[in-house]
Assembly symmetry: C2
Homo-oligomer: 457 residues x 2
């Protein structure tokens, strides 16, 4: 009769919401290369960042402290959906007939449906207490933009979002969510900024990219003192805020009496992967726990870690940001319009890139058709529809579980289900209708994209 083996949920009481974020920089064997001023080639100072970010955020960006206290108003807001559940995917395990144990941390329970409010709320909070009136930002698929719109509504901040044009067209529901929260949403490249106008002049049909949208948001923020800029991934403070995911997972796996052999997350800018991985990685670096395999999964259509170069590059297309050392496909690279819009970024979090170079992370790329197939298999067993981005982690988790079956070993796999796909059903419609194509880049295409890297560092 097909009675399912049950999915098991591990919940934590509210007083187990972490009291501090974890900063992995305190435990790394080598420091992250400095961020450079594009004009001077010298390391930037906090003062250089002051036009763009609130002081508290800049302090976190450069901090080497292991633990950074989460302000009590932020924890109070987290409490609406945190601690987020950790599940043991026993129905999926049974369907795969694998001896592996598969756990997933589910971040889709937040009001915006993804992990992004974990950093949107503190960014809005610090902005509000420092008197900021307006935040500009970019968004790809819209997970980040809708999260900042949500946080902005709570703190009475005006939110102004440059949304990558292909997602603006593919994902009207995310845009509607941002607008319902009261945010202003503009398709990028737009005619509102020099950066946008310049791109449109050269490529009138540009589908946009996160790099272009960042240029537009930064340009507007730099013009005015009461306007700051908020970024949804890539930077140290963003990765820091996301560590609540891994800290809770540690406590929940302790409840389950288990410890992961493999931890998996998808990577666009790197924040959800870092969020789940860093607390476990820190324990390993401090020699407190056995070694774990950390698997970072990116789309084959934007293969930053697997085909990019570790080099100094700009975070945006118009070169308004400082230079950061990261895995990059070049700041002019415009990835194809795949549905996992949140993963279409030419670069990678410098902190994550550095750790990849230290040999602590296995990068891996998957094509979108494989990822959607994994997502549908997951939905039919676990019931939750993953966001297209999260499907990359699902795919790798299923692969690891199937490998366990082949090898006859029982590994414990933990992955981050960073968001639900309820706003992304057009992607599933296109997938089911056979309309999605796979794309991978040749060595020549990648070499061409990398040719324009700045000669620094």
């Amino acid at each position: 009769m097909g009675q399912p083996t049950d999915t098991v949920k591990y919940i934590l009481p509210e007083d187990k919401i972490p009291a501090a974020w974890y900063n992995i920089q305190a435990d790394l064997p080598a420091p992250v290369p400095p961020v450079l001023h594009p004009g001077t080639g010298q390391p930037i100072t906090p003062a250089d960042l002051a036009p763009l970010f609130p002081a508290a955020i800049i302090e976190q960006e450069v901090s080497q402290e292991r633990w950074i206290e989460i302000p009590s108003p932020v924890r109070s807001i987290y409490r609406q959906w945190r601690p987020a559940p950790l599940y043991r995917a026993r129905r999926l395990e049974k369907a795969l007939d694998t001896p592996a144990k598969i756990y997933y941390k589910y971040e889709g329970v937040s009001p915006a449906g993804s992990h992004k409010p974990n950093t949107a709320v503190p960014q809005a909070y610090y902005s509000a207490i420092e008197g900021v009136k307006r935040l500009t930002t970019e968004t790809g698929a819209g997970q980040w933009g809708s999260s900042l719109a949500f946080a902005g509504a709570l703190f009475n901040l005006e939110i102004h979002v440059y949304m990558v044009k292909v997602s603006y067209q593919q994902k009207p529901y995310r845009r509607a969510l941002m607008e319902a929260y009261g945010a202003r949403v503009v398709a990028s490249p737009s005619g509102e900024t020099n950066a946008g106008r310049e791109i449109l002049k050269q490529h009138p049909d540009s589908t946009g990219s996160l790099g272009i949208a960042i240029s537009e948001a930064v340009e507007i923020a730099a013009q005015d003192d009461s306007t700051k800029y908020a970024l949804g991934s890539v930077l140290n403070h963003v990765l820091l805020h996301q560590t609540v995911i891994g800290l809770e997972s540690l406590a929940q796996l302790e409840l389950a009496g288990d410890y992961p052999d493999i931890i998996i997350g998808c990577t666009g800018g790197g924040s959800n992967f870092a969020g789940i991985a860093f607390p476990f990685m820190g324990a390993q670096l401090r020699g407190e726990t056995p070694p774990v395999r950390f698997v970072a999964v990116e789309p084959a259509a934007c293969p930053t870690l697997t085909k990019g170069k570790y080099a100094y590059d700009y975070g945006d297309t118009a070169h308004l940001t400082p230079l950061v050392k990261m895995h990059t496909l070049g700041s002019s690279f415009v990835p194809q319009g795949i549905h996992a819009g949140g993963l279409r970024y030419h670069g990678m979090a410098p902190l994550l890139s550095h750790i990849v170079e230290l040999g602590l992370i296995e990068p891996r790329a998957h094509t979108q058709l494989d990822c959607f197939a994994a997502g549908v298999a997951f939905a039919r067993t676990e019931g939750i529809m993953p966001a297209p981005e999260a499907n990359h982690a699902v795919k790798a988790a299923i692969d690891e579980a199937l490998r366990c079956k082949e090898e006859g070993t029982s590994k414990t796999v933990l992955f981050n289900l960073c968001g639900h796909g309820h706003f992304d059903m057009q992607a599933y419609i296109d997938y089911q209708a056979g309309k999605l194509r796979d794309t991978e880049y040749s060595a020549e295409e990648v070499a061409m994209a990398l040719a324009g890297l700045p000669a620094v560092g």
Copy 2:
């Protein structure tokens, strides 16, 4: 700086998932009028229902027992999202500047995003253990269809959904969710059934209705022994399964040290309202608790309780169902294509209708523009985007809170936020673009719709 007063979450440990559903029939001062066979005019027997429903469901449909045990496999599946959170909406209270306390039970945490899996799972479970291979059903907005598709995937049942045409067109994302779960979805009226063909002959442009879709689903189920029919609202067993909502809320309000003065739910077929209200109403009927005002909110565009007649009528348009005594607008009534598709039903749960007649419930109707305005206000304070159906409850809760402010009284309001609106963002797009219209029916229009009621009872 606008630091929000925090929303408070009340969670329960998993062992507080109710062990039994509550059957209010055991506590009613007068029995519900019998269901009549349309041919004989005599009360129907369980045997009459056997072609359509599994035996366990029929037994629950006619049971007078106060408590009906929840099978352990069903409780195991509930555990993925239950106990669902109860929130105190302090951010909304602050924005309204009201002395009222507003609590909401949030059913959007289920995999399908609404309360409907509470009954889809037991219906699929009982079908599976009785050897059923396929379930047919109708769906309006798609909350029910997607929930049955989810439950069907867990129990390897084939799910066949007749979706009201206007929703099929307005809500492609719900349809995609059903299809991702593996269900087959057909726009209703369809050419697949006699009932559908008959309607299309008379009204080729019919936008469909729940009554028509029920006819189609029932017709198919009656043709074949291994196919049964599942209904997402209206019937006693459905309302029974939904009482987990109210039972958990009772325990959570005890945690909060509070008890409601007013309980609010939206009503289409009546199941989510019954789910939150009946356990409190039962305690009141048994004299254990003080009286509560129970407010049932329906759309002005489908005013079953506020303008319909309490009379025997068919549950479907093609008159394939038995006759039930309920508030009805007539089985040929096709409500306008408002976005709260789940509330577009010509009738009402007979059990709920009976209790309205007993004077225990205050029915109320609101127009959709007022409801969307309330939903947006709710999203901007509480962060959660309500489904268009749930907006009716939000609107009434805000009204009651504002009345408290006017009167200077502090009442405790509890409402059921029965689902999130993430699949319904087209409705919010249309609302924000000023494209939605309000409709109310004149006394003449209602009288005309009621003219065709059967002369029974």
